[in-house]
């Protein structure tokens, strides 16, 4: 039997070359979705194959990798991907945002500001921001070519007419460097402003849809809005119950069947760092690392 053997970071060098070329093009054309010959990965499409391929193509032995899903290092998918790279690339891993050189994420941007030495790799399910308005690739490609985004503005405007608000809470579309409308992946719109003028390089990988795109550092990223309905961030109106943070995005935790709930930081590293620094919330449990609430 052909017993399989795998290269450093799983991908063969030919595949890495192909992905690396796509990444360079993506950086040169901010917000444009570069088609690439996405490979079949040993994890399912829709579970981060795009992010994993981008990470595998950039990762080196000197890197320190952090993987988060929903802001947490300890969600099952984050653990699974971190283990994959620890096993295939033997790289150091961390949960500390500031220590990481490469951060792969699903659905969140860390709360701590990113710095110039870092690359943030997003897992993207549907890279095309116009896809739910126009399912045909041939049509959406033409719209991007012409910079014709009227359809998106009409949709947002219809929301306002119907609901009084833009009814998009996550994957909120942005315009990159004044040219391409881009899908930020299903991050809550709370995170959108972090993409603007960010010191770190941001790379986006969509494996099933075979697209890579990028936001270079210090690039203007504007959330689409209207003068009379400006973009607003949304955050639950509560402090974190564990660290007291008033500026972080919160998870809602249902605590019983009577409608009781509490809010804690979705970014677990941010929350733990604050707790270590002595910040406390109403439900803090000092000196306890493991257990169930």
């Amino acid at each position: 039997m052909n017993a399989p053997t795998y290269n450093f970071a799983y991908l063969d060098e030919g595949t890495k070359r192909m992905i690396r070329r796509a990444i360079l093009k993506a950086i040169a054309i901010p917000g444009y979705q570069v088609p690439f010959a996405s490979r079949e990965m040993p994890m399912p499409y829709g579970w981060g194959t795009g992010g994993v391929q981008v990470t595998a193509a950039i990762l080196g032995p000197q890197d320190v990798l952090k993987v988060i899903d929903q802001g947490s290092d300890d969600t099952t998918n984050a653990i699974s991907i971190r283990k994959f790279f620890a096993k295939t690339a033997g790289v150091a891993t961390t949960t500390r945002t500031e220590e990481a050189s490469v951060i792969q994420t699903r659905h969140r941007i860390p709360e701590a500001p990113l710095h110039a030495g870092q690359v943030l790799v997003y897992q993207v399910p549907i890279p095309e921001p116009l896809r739910y308005l126009e399912p045909r690739e041939t049509e959406t490609r033409r719209m991007h070519a012409l910079g014709e985004y009227g359809l998106m503005h009409v949709k947002l405007y219809e929301d306002i007419a119907k609901f009084g608000h833009i009814a998009t809470a996550y994957a909120y579309p942005v315009k990159v460097a004044g040219r391409y409308v881009m899908d930020p992946s299903p991050t809550p719109k709370f995170d959108n402003p972090k993409m603007n003028d960010c010191e770190a390089l941001q790379l986006f990988g969509a494996g099933r849809e075979k697209r890579i795109y990028a936001i270079p550092p210090y690039t203007q990223v504007v959330s689409l809005d209207f003068e009379d309905h400006p973009f607003t961030r949304y955050r639950q109106d509560a402090p974190c119950a564990l660290c007291g943070a008033e500026d972080s995005y919160l998870d809602e935790i249902v605590t019983d069947d009577q409608g009781s709930r509490m809010f804690v930081c979705s970014d677990t590293d941010y929350c733990e760092t604050r707790q270590r620094d002595g910040h406390l919330g109403s439900e803090s449990a000092p000196n306890k690392e493991h257990g169930h609430g």
Binding site: N2, A37, S38, Y45, T76, T187, P188
Partner: protein
């Protein structure tokens, strides 16, 4: 006091350990061997090879065993392995006319040169559960005859001699063979890429699309010109050696559909073709593929393309069950961050709605 849930890593390890245990099943029952899967569940192995796009019975059998008989999971395993293999080039075109035929039927002629050969088929079996198979079946040995050396020309070639069917596209030895696993797909796609997509496509999806075309959603009046199954020699042209090297035989099923004739002011009416090819004995797949191939040629043949089976972008974007299963099943992953963002928005919208409802009577009273 609240402490966030930890220990996901151990949970994953334990779940996988439990999976291995469940896969093995009752340990008093003998473990199934790859040979048993390959020999006795051979059509399952064929399907996994076709949609996994890798001709290796042993690895396909392993994948089926590892996947606990879930064929889509097995296809996924084989695909992921295939993606790591080096690519040396493309083989020479197969000559299915030179196939060592084990089964060959045509519904368009009563008799054909070389004859109709039923071969191993479920056709005309009465679908009655057979209790004799429940254990230790010992079937009769097959009837045999001396192999025939009569030529077995493809039925479409017979029709082609009289110009009654459109010609097969002429081979272009210099043309690069498209490969959608190596290059990102763009639309419109050429027929080589469409056929590759269909060959890898989910049998159930293609079957339903083919069926829909028969029921009038893009009808093209098909006849099963010929279905043949057997072994074909594979050859690879080695640049270094300067000649074609035989790689051995592979089992294939080929279907040529003969479809409604068309013509134009400049062309005499003739039948058109739909083509299906699959590893192993995969008749349902090859037939469905041929019907959908023909449906997808609508644009090229100047037909109205309005039905799902004729919509290239729709068909090609949704035919792959590894992609489809991944994306459908990714809904199992945590989505609480985006869900809560949506929850927050919904609460606000409901608040607005209630405020408005509360304001309305006041307004009416004021008027």
């Amino acid at each position: 006091m609240y402490v966030a849930v930890k220990g996901g890593e151990r949970a994953i390890d334990n779940a996988h350990r439990l999976l291995a245990h469940a896969r093995r099943g009752e340990r008093a029952v003998p473990e199934i061997s790859l040979e048993q899967i390959s020999e006795q569940l051979s059509l399952g192995v064929d399907r996994v090879m076709v949609e996994g796009s890798l001709y290796d019975r042993e690895l396909a059998a392993l994948a089926i065993k590892q996947a606990r008989g879930d064929l889509i999971e097995a296809i996924f395993l084989l695909r992921a392995f295939r993606a790591t293999l080096p690519r040396f080039g493309a083989t020479l075109p197969l000559d299915t006319g030179a196939m060592a035929v084990r089964r060959r039927i045509s519904s368009t002629f009563k008799d054909i040169p070389g004859g109709q050969i039923l071969g191993p088929t479920f056709d005309y079996t009465h679908r009655l559960l057979d209790p004799a198979l429940a254990e230790n079946s010992d079937p009769e040995l097959p009837a045999t005859a001396a192999p025939s050396d009569a030529p077995m020309p493809r039925v479409t070639d017979i029709l082609g001699r009289d110009g009654l069917i459109e010609g097969s596209p002429a081979a272009d030895d210099d043309a690069i063979v498209g490969d959608l696993t190596r290059d990102p797909l763009s639309f419109p796609a050429d027929r080589d890429l469409r056929l590759q997509n269909l060959a890898r496509g989910d049998e159930g999806f293609l079957l339903s699309l083919a069926y829909s075309s028969q029921r009038g959603y893009g009808r093209n009046h098909p006849f099963a010109g010929e279905i043949r199954f057997g072994e074909v020699e594979l050859e690879f042209f080695a640049e270094d050696a300067g000649f074609a090297v035989p790689l051995g035989p592979i089992a294939l099923t080929e279907t040529q559909m003969v479809n409604q004739f068309k013509g134009s002011a400049t062309e005499a009416p003739c039948f058109t073709r739909g083509y299906g090819l699959a590893f192993g004995q995969s008749e349902r797949k090859a037939m469905a593929m041929a019907l959908v191939d023909r449906a997808l040629r609508a644009r090229e043949l100047g037909e109205e393309a309005e039905a799902p089976a004729q919509d290239e972008e729709f068909v090609m974007s949704h035919s792959d069950n590894v992609q489809a299963t991944g994306f459908v099943e990714h809904l199992k992953l945590p989505h609480y961050v985006d869900f809560q963002s949506e929850l927050g928005l919904l609460r606000r919208l409901r608040q607005d709605f209630e405020d408005k409802a509360a304001d309305a009577p006041l307004k009416e009273a004021a008027e």
